[in-house]
Symmetry: C2
Subunit: 365 residues, 2 copies
């Protein structure tokens, strides 16, 4: 186990509807509140489990007001003050920036790491070693990202373009730029070059560095966050006035242009479970030309009868399911809604959520 | 409407597990007890509705003892004595032969027609006109079958090979032989020749002719049936001793060899709903290269959200179902079991029933 890192705080943004994982993920019960790996722990619980050896009880979980009770119920060991409830969703800069402003006041020596509540990481020891290396760079005022060694030319992830190694840090590299999700052809070129890593959306930084970088592009925003941290009771009035912008655009990309971003490359298994095809892969369904001979099951395998089928079956309604003659199928049966699709079409599940909303069935989304 | 035909009796064998329609059809609730067309009437009710103008109340419904109560409940207008309960399943010769023996005693001028309880017929007037023609041939001691004009080279139905027209009967033809389900190639040759019709498994015959034909091949069997009809109380002892054989093999095929079988060709829409692909076609799903653009729904259409999908969806559990990116899919959701397959693999659904039985889940079959 890794040793705790003094003054290191984990900020956990717990948001996102996860519409591509409907009907497992709902607006009222998003994926971070679900056990999507069959581990017995939800993604949120898994995220805290993974970080606890590094931060002990130094957590801030930032979540929507409507999820705060569910988050507290899933984390009974967490001090209630560690849960920061957003009155409304205002994108990641507001959520993470507010956490930074709170920590800046609470602990002048703080280094914070931001880790989404709905990712899956397979080798927690490697993850923690990587994060520990990142904190060392962060103490020298770098904005530090984690760059995952790509295992295939994914067009579903963003990439980090790495430059030279940073002197005095065996594991740190300059980040030349952030790259949005590329085409598969471009992604193949990235892999061949050896200069690109998956952007896992994690970063480690001193709160003051983060807020000062924000102040360079939007001083009012940074000032508003710092004022709010000084008077948390005003959140009801202040929050709706904050800009809706992602931390990537507000801080990370300008900082990369300014040569202030570092990356620690790492090779732990990582996935953000963007859709059911990712979930199937994560659960071991394999991919063509080597799929697993039977569907993977998330839940009680004894409920599933499969004949000449591959893919993913989720018997979450507790009801027996038979699948006959379908390759790469996705069957998700919940108590109040059933989805049937294929891994190829997994991205289109969000169209169902849109269709249900326009049909007046927002209650199911 | 057709006029009633004096002394014409309808015998309705109501049996068969319909395992290829699992989970809609179960051992405890077979397909004849189900409304599979969305008409508001079960297949059994539809069968009697169709025949009532010809026979008025002259019905005998032969069914398993375990289904007798359900049959009676679905047919409240039927005299309870018209339901003949078989103590156990002993194939169609015992079921239909016993009905023949009962009718032979009850009405010496009887002509009986045997019509399965689980077929669908689209033009009842044409059907009744055809049956009326068949009764005329039956009064001259022919075993009369109905030969449906094939609309495509089906390999799922048996065929009748027709010979010459029967003198004095504009619509009657000699049947040279019964042919088991052919390959599709053979079926195409049958259609091209114009000499073959689908064997709809219906026949019209005088009870005495049927039993005398049986007596030619198995005199003990015919005698046992006649003795049973004279003493119905002995059914508990007699029934288990009766041979298990289909009426086709016991009587119809030998009678065809002996030149005793006639056919009345007809062109009414007919299907025995052998599997979910047949059911999809019956409900208007179309077939490649002209499928319907959205899945057909058996049940409440408002429960189904389909994105780029075709096939059949049955929301019998009353739960919303979303289908994304699957062609010719079959989704059957019932309160205690869910099936997902394709129209191509519809015949393999029986493998699920076998798998459930061997997994100790016969309760679901």
């Amino acid at each position: 186990m890794a040793d705790p890192i003094e003054h290191f705080w984990a900020v956990i943004p717990a948001g996102g509807a996860g519409t591509r994982l409907w009907p497992l993920s709902r607006a009222g019960a998003p994926k971070f509140l679900r056990d999507l790996t069959g581990s017995g722990r939800t993604l949120l619980q898994g995220t805290l489990d993974r970080l606890e050896p590094l931060v002990e009880d130094r957590f801030l979980v930032v979540t929507g007001a409507s999820h705060a009770d569910a988050v507290a119920a899933q984390l009974p060991g967490l001090d209630p003050s560690a849960i920061v409830a957003e009155p409304s969703a205002r994108d990641s800069m507001a959520a993470i920036g507010y956490a930074a402003a709170l920590l800046e006041r609470r602990d002048p020596d703080a280094v914070m790491g931001s880790f989404a509540a709905d990712h899956v990481i397979e080798e927690p020891q490697v993850f923690r070693r990587t994060v520990a290396q990142a904190t060392e760079l962060a103490r020298e005022d770098w904005v530090v990202t984690i760059g995952i060694d790509p295992t295939f030319p994914s067009s579903a992830f963003g990439y980090l373009h790495l430059g030279e190694a940073i002197e005095g840090h065996a594991s740190g590299y300059r980040v030349l730029s952030f790259v949005e999700k590329p085409s598969e052809v471009t992604a193949r070129r990235y892999l061949a070059s050896g200069e690109y890593r998956w952007n896992a959306g994690m970063f480690v930084v001193r709160p003051t560095v983060l807020l000062d970088l924000l102040a360079e592009s939007d001083p009012d925003f940074a000032a508003a966050l710092r004022a709010l941290a000084a008077a948390p009771d005003t959140i009801g009035e202040v929050w709706p006035t904050l800009p809706k912008i992602a931390v990537d655009h507000a801080v990370a990309e300008p900082a990369a242009d300014a040569g202030r971003v570092a990356a620690v490359p790492a090779s732990f298994g990582w996935d953000d479970i963007g859709d059911f095809s990712s979930l199937a892969a994560l659960l071991g369904a394999g991919t063509a030309p080597r799929p697993r001979a039977v569907p993977v099951v998330l839940g009680d395998e004894s409920l599933v009868t499969a004949v000449h089928s591959t893919g993913l079956v989720v018997p979450a309604a507790g009801k027996p399911i038979a699948v006959v003659g379908l390759d790469d199928v996705v069957v998700v049966d919940t108590p109040d809604a059933l989805l049937v699709t294929t891994r190829d079409r997994a991205q289109d599940v969000k169209a169902v959520v849109a269709a249900l909303k326009s049909a007046g069935r927002a209650d199911l989304t």
